[in-house]
């Protein structure tokens, strides 16, 4: 074990990179891009270092860094990492360089683009590693700033509106969460997640909030729920997502779906569930319906989209709803006779695996749509293409693999998480799993339609003169595609990191 503050390094190296880029006034674009890429790769490198020293059998946070920060408020600088955080750090480490490579050809001010991207990366990593609400929330909100500019300045025609909608909606949700935590602080006097989780587990939080007034526990829970639900997004708080994903430039869309949407699910697992187990248990039956709504209606709405990016965006809603479905099913089943630990473990493992797998496959899909868009001069309609597979077999192959991964084809990574989620949800709430199957079917329908219209049939539309992938583009997609295969056959790579953690979580099923 090293004495280096590894986690701080993970969080702040991208920020250092952003600062460096900001000072490189006269550097040529190639240098700027290389610097961005190298700094974004630091996360993966440091993540692997952490992985080497990581003890998967421990369920408490590791590599902890804790310093008193604002002593009057009892705020600590507190970073720590468990299996869940590690999975997300690795995901960020993979998705960000891929997204930067996919944005390699960004013409307009690559220096600012790179700096904003690295800033965004650092903020996301901060969210995944912070264990104190104070700076967790700082990172959480700071991530919006670069995302806003990345959408607005490099996005498409409607980018400005989409960016405002995205930021205002998300901040609106977060405001309630902030209020909730303010109340929580007043009640408990701490903002530390570990302490709060202990207080949550034995019901102290509920009691202390109730001491403030009868409706406080509900209000605080709802506030935090709203903040996280908008971020994920949970149906029906998802309407900001399709325009934001669709209008953002390719690289940003990849990061948004690959990493930022995972921040919300992370928040559910790290904050909402441990801190408010009783409230979540009470609300879960209703929330299950919302998650099901996301699964089914998200997939069906995707069938209706003409804009390919919007289609993939809706499919993201569908996939993220699977994750929430599993969590809500576990929470709803807490303490119920017949709810087994096996099912709960499967559902929770599935959630985390699916977070990772969806991050990979959705990023790859967005990257592919980006390729289509760049080749077709900005057009990305379902009917703008035809027979791309004839013109660009390699591209079609890679895109097909990401599509089948998103569709949950066994042998590719997407299946493992989905199977575990379905296995768990079926064990806990069979009818919900049966209804969610409709989402699987609709996913197959719209992805197949996408594939048929764009890649099959006679070559026509924007596919005329379509060039196959360049070496750079292949290099962008290849690592992700390779991981899609590897994790499909060998999910132990990820499952091994989270298994003890998830088992411990499932062990806490019985409510106080």
């Amino acid at each position: 074990m090293t004495s280096l503050p590894l986690l701080s390094l993970i969080v702040f190296t991208p920020w250092a990179g952003a600062a460096l880029l900001a000072s490189l006034r006269r550097a040529s674009p190639i240098i700027v891009r290389t610097v961005s890429l190298v700094f974004s790769l630091s996360t993966l490198a440091l993540g692997l270092v952490v992985l080497a020293g990581f003890d998967a059998a421990r369920t408490s946070p590791q590599f902890v860094e804790q310093q008193a920060w604002i002593s009057t408020l009892n705020v600590h600088y507190h970073l720590g990492l468990d299996g869940l955080s590690l999975v997300l750090v690795l995901l960020t480490g993979i998705v960000t360089p891929t997204a930067l490579l996919a944005s390699w050809r960004v013409r307009r001010s690559p220096r600012l683009f790179g700096a904003l991207f690295l800033f965004l990366q650092g903020a996301a990593l901060g969210v995944f590693l912070a264990l104190d609400f104070f700076h967790w929330f700082l990172f959480w909100e700071l991530s919006l700033v670069p995302a806003f500019f990345l959408i607005k300045l490099w996005g498409g025609a409607g980018a400005s509106r989409a960016a405002y909608q995205f930021v205002i909606y998300t901040i609106g949700g977060s405001a309630f969460m902030l209020l909730g935590f303010a109340a929580l602080y007043v009640a408990t006097g701490t903002l530390d997640f570990i302490q709060l989780a202990q207080l949550g587990a034995d019901g102290t939080i509920g009691q202390k909030l109730a001491a403030l007034g009868g409706w406080w526990p509900t209000a605080v829970f709802l506030g935090v729920l709203l903040g996280l639900a908008v971020k994920v997004p949970l149906f029906p708080f998802h309407t900001w997502l399709p325009p934001a994903y669709a209008e953002a430039p390719t690289g940003t869309s990849m990061f948004l779906t690959g990493v930022m949407s995972k921040m919300g699910v992370y928040g559910f697992l790290r904050i909402l569930w441990p801190l408010f187990p009783a409230s979540l248990h009470a609300a879960a039956p209703a929330l299950l319906w919302l998650a099901l709504g996301g699964v089914v209606l998200g997939a069906f709405a995707a069938m209706r989209q003409i804009d390919l990016k919007r289609m993939i965006a809706y499919s993201s809603i569908n996939h993220l709803s699977y994750c929430l479905l599993a969590l809500f099913a576990v929470s709803a089943a807490t303490g119920r006779a017949g709810a087994t630990n096996e099912a709960a473990t499967a559902a929770l493992s599935g959630t985390i695996l699916h977070i990772f797998n969806h991050g990979l496959s959705a990023a790859a899909l967005f990257c592919c749509v980006g390729v289509l868009e760049s080749r077709a001069g900005g057009r990305r309609g379902l009917n703008d293409f035809g027979g791309v597979r004839t013109a660009a077999p390699i591209f079609a192959g890679l895109c097909g693999i990401s599509m089948f991964s998103s569709l949950g084809l066994p042998g590719l990574n997407g299946f493992v998480g989905e199977f575990l989620i379905f296995r768990g949800v079926f064990g806990l709430t069979p009818w919900a799993a049966a209804v969610a199957c409709l989402g699987l079917l609709a996913t197959a329908l719209f992805l197949m339609t996408f594939w048929q219209r764009v890649f099959h049939g006679p070559t026509g539309g924007a596919a005329t003169g379509f060039k196959d992938l360049s070496a750079l583009e292949i290099a962008t997609l290849a690592p992700t595609i390779a991981l899609i295969f590897v994790l499909g056959v060998w999910p132990q790579l990820i499952a091994g990191l989270i298994n003890p953690l998830v088992t411990a979580w499932a062990g806490h099923l019985a409510l106080p």
């Binding site: 309407t239 069938m303 099912a343 473990t345 597979r389 042998g411 064990g427 049939g457 006679p458 132990q492």
Partner: protein, 685 residues
């Protein structure tokens, strides 16, 4: 048989190496995927070599399995850690697996060899062999899986491979649409299988078939499953069995999910052969046979609303009859065969349903050979006739294509069930006997018998239209025999289509006995139950006779002449030709429903959810407007007026600033004079 057995005993394949059977074609697929387009010889060679090796391994596996036919040799291993224990998968070797593997690898090998000739001119033949190898590998994976999960994984990969191969000529919109249809339709069934699998996993905690007494197909788990009841009074095992059967319905093209199968003809003909004979559709029958203990577990229960196998039997019967009826009115050579496949698969399901899974597997094995033979024969015809598939425009091919004709005729007779010499007869007999012996209902038997007549009839029609008379198109007129790479597999399959029947005659039912795990074969005289056999022989004769009378005696003169049946009953014929309108029915119901749901979801998003948000935004905006108005009119107003008047004054004064020195000087002078005057006026005081 004894010599064969002795030869096989020389070879053994330990069960933990069973995966090699599936891995070799997969490896070939990997090599094929990385081979550039011009390396077609390499890709084809590797694929064929891998299949040949797999075939040898399968023979070794068969020898191993037959050495102890009653045992289920398993090798289980952990896939990944889940909760407190690992999620386990495994390989399984028993006679069922072994026989199927041998059939798949042998038929697959012959189809691969045929493809070398058939796909000779196609620019993408490396990709073709890659996908074919994936297809074979996935199917072999289904066969050797000892876990429903692993089976499901390979099952879905079979679906993927079929998707890729049906859509192999993806530049044709029809092929692309057919591929999508196949994938989606089978996926509907697969969701049932998925749910059944989840239920099974949840109830028993494992998905291994055999696991030293803890597997789902072993007595302990089955007892627990039959003991519980669920919705509608069904035993849990019944419900799970029916859900699993949904998967088989989709994959095996059973009513009501048979619609994809005829469309799958859009793929290259070897693909059709592989799908219809050895791999995909066989997977459904195999699945039911594999989980047969589960399907049959509720047979002992008296007070259940329905037994799982009863449903299987009726679905099979409906499919058998319906497929045969539709086949009568098809004009595309491959579609006739496709509906005949639907019908034959119905037979197999019927056999499964009435309790004789060995008869189903026997028919599956024989059918694999003669159906592959028929499809490859059709491929040979199509290849020779420059991709002319319409039987009305073919004709007279008997002369130029002797080998193809001879082998096709053998296939036709095997499929029709021409007695004694042909394998189809024996396997169909086994099924009809089982249906006869079933005490559930006699309807399946009647449906099966009716289908016997129809099968003989439409096959006679097909042969008469394609091979007899005069060529009715230029393409058919120029046809000549296909190259040896195509005819040799035909001959090989024809030999199989004849000989295979003798493995399971009632006199010496060796195959059935081995499948049931018996080491002793108990034959009985053919005369036992000879009445039914006589009846079916009569029915076959009737069918062929009718076909002969209608099509052979008076051969079609021109390509445009009406079909005799069409002349007789135009409406029925049209309905059958339109496949009884299932496609239209589904488009009008399921298709429209899913589109409506999509439209609803989209509209909800655009108007309701987004509308709510827009309303909130408007509310915020409204507050903003109100506060702005207050500010501007009431607070800012006074301040603005004050500053406006100040500005006016300033403006007024600034007029004096002309910038002209003289003006200033004048003012100074006047001021000076005035000052002087004032001083002088007041000077006196």
């Amino acid at each position: 048989m004894l010599e064969l057995g002795a030869f096989l005993r020389l070879m053994t394949l330990p069960v933990h190496l069973l995966w090699l059977i599936a891995a070799l074609p997969l490896l070939a697929a990997g090599i094929g995927a990385l081979t550039p387009r011009r390396g077609r010889a390499l890709a084809a060679g590797v694929a064929i070599a891998a299949m040949a090796l797999s075939f040898l391994l399968s023979c070794a596996a068969l020898a191993t399995a037959l050495a102890q036919p009653a045992a289920h040799l398993v090798h289980n291993f952990a896939w990944f850690d889940l909760g407190l224990g690992p999620l386990r998968l495994g390989w399984l070797l028993d006679p069922l697996t072994a026989f199927m593997c041998v059939m798949v690898t042998l038929v697959g090998l012959l189809i691969f060899v045929f493809s070398v000739g058939y796909m000779h001119a196609d620019a993408n033949s490396t990709r073709f062999f890659c996908f074919m190898s994936v297809f074979a590998a996935a199917m072999l994976g289904v066969l050797i899986a000892n876990s429903l999960l692993l089976l499901f994984v390979c099952w879905e990969l079979v679906g993927l491979a079929s998707y890729l191969l049906i859509g192999f000529w993806f530049h044709k919109p029809a092929a692309a649409a057919a591929a999508k249809k196949a994938f989606i339709t089978t996926r509907i069934g697969d969701l049932g299988l998925l749910l059944g699998m989840l239920w099974l996993y949840d109830s028993t905690g494992t998905l291994l078939f055999f696991d030293a007494g803890n597997g789902v197909l072993e007595a302990g788990a089955l007892g627990a499953l039959t003991a519980q009841t669920t919705i509608g009074g069904l035993a849990v095992s019944t419900a799970i069995g029916l859900l699993v059967f949904c998967g088989a319905i989709g994959k095996s093209g059973q009513f009501p999910l048979h619609v994809w199968l005829p469309d799958a003809m859009e793929g290259p003909t070897p693909v059709s052969a592989l799908i219809h004979a050895a791999t995909m559709v066989a997977a459904g029958v195999f699945l039911v046979a594999r989980v047969y203990p589960l399907m049959a577990a509720d047979q002992a229960l008296a007070h259940v609303p329905i037994h799982a196998l009863t449903v299987v039997a009726f679905i099979g019967a409906i499919t058998a009859l319906m497929g045969a009826m539709i086949a009568v009115a098809q004009n595309d050579i491959k579609r006739v065969l496709a509906f005949s496949t639907v019908s034959q698969l119905g037979y197999m399901m019927l056999a499964l349903g009435v309790g004789s899974w060995v008869a189903a597997i026997f028919h599956l094995l024989t059918h694999a050979f003669f159906k592959a033979l028929l499809f490859l024969g059709a491929g040979s015809v199509i290849h020779a006739a420059h991709h002319e598939q319409d039987i009305r425009r073919l004709g007279g091919l008997r002369g130029p294509m002797r080998t193809t004709f001879a082998t096709f005729a053998i296939g036709m007779m095997a499929l029709s069930g021409v007695p004694f010499l042909f394998s189809g007869f024996w396997s169909k007999e086994a099924i009809l006997h089982a249906a006869h012996a079933w005490n559930g209902s006699s309807l399946p038997l009647f449906a099966g018998l009716a289908a016997v007549v129809l099968t003989a009839f439409y096959m006679t029609r097909l042969v008469a239209e394609v091979f007899f008379g005069a060529p009715r198109s230029e393409a058919a007129g120029h046809a000549h025999e296909s190259p040896p790479t195509m005819t040799i597999p035909l001959i090989g399959l024809a030999v199989g289509a004849v000989l295979l029947g003798f493995l399971g005659t009632p006199a010496y039912p060796w195959l059935q006995a081995r499948l049931l795990g018996e080491t002793e074969v108990h034959g009985h005289s053919l005369l036992e139950g000879g009445g039914l056999m006589m009846l079916s022989i009569v029915l076959v004769a009737l069918g062929i006779g009718a076909g002969w009378a209608i099509y052979w005696r008076r051969l079609r003169a021109t390509a445009t002449a009406l079909d005799p049946l069409e002349r007789a009953t135009p409406r029925t014929f049209a309905a059958l030709a339109a496949r009884l309108g299932f496609d239209e029915l589904y488009a009008a119901t399921v298709g429209r429903l899913s589109n409506a749901t999509a439209a609803l979801a989209d509209a909800l998003d655009r108007h309701v959810w987004d509308g709510a948000i827009r309303f909130l935004a408007r509310l915020g905006e409204f507050t903003g407007v109100v506060s702005r108005e207050t500010d501007e009119d009431m607070l800012n107003g006074g301040f603005d007026a004050g500053s406006e008047s100040l500005r006016g004054t300033g403006k007024l004064y600034s007029r004096a600033q002309t910038g002209e020195t003289h003006g200033y000087l004048r003012v100074i002078a006047i001021g000076f004079v005035l000052l002087v005057l004032i001083v002088m006026m007041g000077g006196g005081q």
